[in-house]
């Protein structure tokens, strides 16, 4: 089997653009030629691939999935994804979500509702979550977009200096502008016409799916000793987003 070393995005983009979604009748015909055991096996492989890729929280691209796992079964791709999504829900309590319908990238999120209170069990939490919360929280409270200086200044007050190595987080700038962005928690976009170059932060596609605005607002209320409703517009937005995420279903 020929194996080409994976290059930069171009080759994979080409492969993905060559991959056209098979029609329902094509899928049907494809299924007829395979045994149920074969389809199950391929579905399991896809599931395992996702689970391991999810360790780093980097989204999975359809092109990679087809190239590395699905391979010859690409003609029944929609059926495999459908079955994988079902298994994720029923067996693992996870939801397979396509966060980017244009570039066809998927992530896994927890299908179970987050607990209302922290778990009574003293299990260690990932400190990066706290950092992410600060950035997402400030961005949300400022209307969804915020200039990077606001974030860096806020972090500095919390003893996290983007210019220095932090005990807990190491290279903070790289963590925030590269890792969190790659994981799709944040978007770090250039502001045009700025001299010197400045960027703004927004919520990323993963954050839109995974993070509850209502819960963030609730914690903000506790910190500021205010009712969440006192931020009227934000409260409305938080309520709207939580109801829409409850009704959304995984695609394909």
């Amino acid at each position: 089997m020929q194996r080409q070393p994976s290059s930069s995005g171009t080759q994979e983009d080409n492969e993905d653009s060559m991959f056209t979604q098979p029609s329902t009748s094509q899928v049907q015909r494809g299924l007829e030629k395979l045994t149920p055991a074969q389809v199950d096996q391929k579905t399991s492989e896809v599931i395992q691939y996702f689970l391991v890729k999810d360790q780093k929280k980097v989204p999975v691209r359809r092109a990679d999935l087809v190239k590395h796992v699905v391979k010859d079964y690409r003609n029944i791709y929609p059926e495999i994804i459908k079955r994988a999504a079902r298994t994720f829900e029923q067996v693992f309590g996870l939801k397979l979500v396509e966060i980017d319908p244009k570039n066809h990238t998927y992530i896994l999120i927890n299908n179970l509702e987050a607990a209302d209170k922290p778990s009574p069990v003293e299990c260690p939490a990932n400190p990066k979550l706290g950092l992410l919360f600060v950035i997402l929280g400030v961005t949300f409270m400022k209307g969804g977009v915020v200039r990077e200086n606001v974030i860096w200044n806020t972090l500095k007050k919390l003893r996290v200096d983007s210019g220095e190595k932090h005990d807990e987080f190491g290279d903070v700038k790289r963590l925030v502008t590269e890792e969190f962005v790659r994981q799709r928690y944040l978007e770090y976009v250039r502001i045009p016409h700025t001299e010197p170059m400045e960027h703004e932060f927004r919520w990323g596609q993963r954050a839109d799916m995974e993070v509850s605005k209502a819960k963030i607002l609730e914690f903000m209320g506790q910190l500021h000793e205010q009712e969440p409703q006192s931020w009227t517009q934000l409260y409305r937005e938080a309520q709207a987003s939580s109801s829409s995420s409850n009704s959304s279903s995984s695609q394909r």
Partner: protein
């Protein structure tokens, strides 16, 4: 005629365009004043653009009207603009000012109560357990920590509290680690390359070393064979009577020998040459596997088990089973 007048100005790349696009160019009857005036206008525009860019924070603050002032200034300047060159600068200023205006507008977003990141940071610090020192000498290592230092678990405390805001899928980890997406590259070529030098390397190594390695392996194999011999002999003496496993492996004179016997016996089990079973009293017994049965045994269900023994257990076995002699005689000393 116009060309000679424009000699004082530095010739530009799109000088001709300027010439053609010049709006009301007929008005410059006063040539020298005009050139000076043009330069002045351009310089003022550049100043305005700089002001907007350098004082962004100031401009954005809702308490000042600086942006409006800049725009009013620009309006005045624009009245005197005659050439495309100045107009271009005006356009550039407009772009920069509009960006700023857009940002100012987005600042109006927060109706109700505003959100102040500084206050937020203060509340967070308290939540994370900031120890506020009274004297204010928190030490130079904390940047801006005039008032205290954060405990080591500060971020963990925060993370635990905000976990419930995230619907993150728990990560799945194999015990044996992860894999790469691509299959491993074929290895044949490197192996062939390695074989050539290794042959020579073996020649250089002293032959004595080679002999020693073999002798280690041989020793174990010899032992296992020897023990198999004992087992068979013992079994043949009385084929119907089961051999107690403990009686077989325990050497009442040496704990170390007992352990070695267990070790070597396990090879017999592994290779299917002997089998262990429980008798009616649920005590383990061992028996050699018949010649013809060896093949069949490999395909039948094989179980694994782990045996552990300590000096205390060893003594108990000797007492319980009243083991006086070892079935497996210790090997000759020079073999070890």
């Amino acid at each position: 005629m116009r060309k000679s007048r424009r000699n004082e100005e530095a010739p530009r790349q799109n000088g001709s365009a300027d010439f053609e696009a010049s709006p009301v160019g007929l008005q410059d009857g006063h040539d020298d004043n005009d050139t000076g005036r043009r330069r002045e206008i351009r310089s003022k525009y550049r100043d305005l653009i700089n002001t907007v860019q350098q004082n962004r924070e100031d401009m954005l603050s809702p308490s000042t009207d600086k942006l409006t002032e800049v725009l009013e200034e620009a309006n005045k300047l624009f009245k005197d603009v005659r050439r495309a060159r100045e107009a271009a600068l005006d356009a550039q200023l407009l772009v920069v000012a509009t960006d700023l205006g857009k940002e100012k507008a987005s600042q109006l977003f927060s109706e109700g109560s505003a959100f102040d990141p500084t206050a937020f940071a203060e509340h967070l610090l308290s939540f994370m357990g900031l120890n506020r020192l009274e004297d204010g000498d928190g030490g130079p290592q904390n940047a801006g920590a005039a008032d205290g230092y954060l405990p080591r678990d500060a971020w963990h405390r925060l993370s635990r509290r905000v976990e419930c805001c995230f619907r993150t899928a728990p990560s799945f980890h194999y015990m044996m680690g992860s894999f790469h997406a691509e299959p491993p590259a074929p290895k044949q070529r490197t192996e062939r390359q390695r074989k050539a030098p290794s042959k020579e390397a073996k020649r250089i190594m002293p032959t004595q070393l080679k002999k020693m390695e073999e002798s280690h392996q041989e020793a174990t194999e010899k032992e296992v064979e020897r023990i198999l011999g004992y087992l068979k002999t013992y079994h043949q003496d009385d084929p119907t009577s089961p051999i107690s496993y403990y009686e077989f492996v325990v050497d009442p004179n040496s704990f170390a020998r007992t352990v070695e016997n267990i070790f070597h016996t396990s090879f017999l089990i592994r290779d299917g040459l002997a089998r262990m079973y429980l008798d009616s009293d649920k005590l383990p017994c061992i028996a050699p596997v018949e010649e013809g049965d060896i093949e069949a045994a490999s395909s039948s269900s094989r179980k694994q088990c782990i045996i552990s023994i300590s000096p205390k257990i060893w003594k108990e076995l000797i007492d319980t089973f009243e083991i006086k002699d070892s079935i497996i005689q210790p090997p000759e000393p020079h073999n070890e």
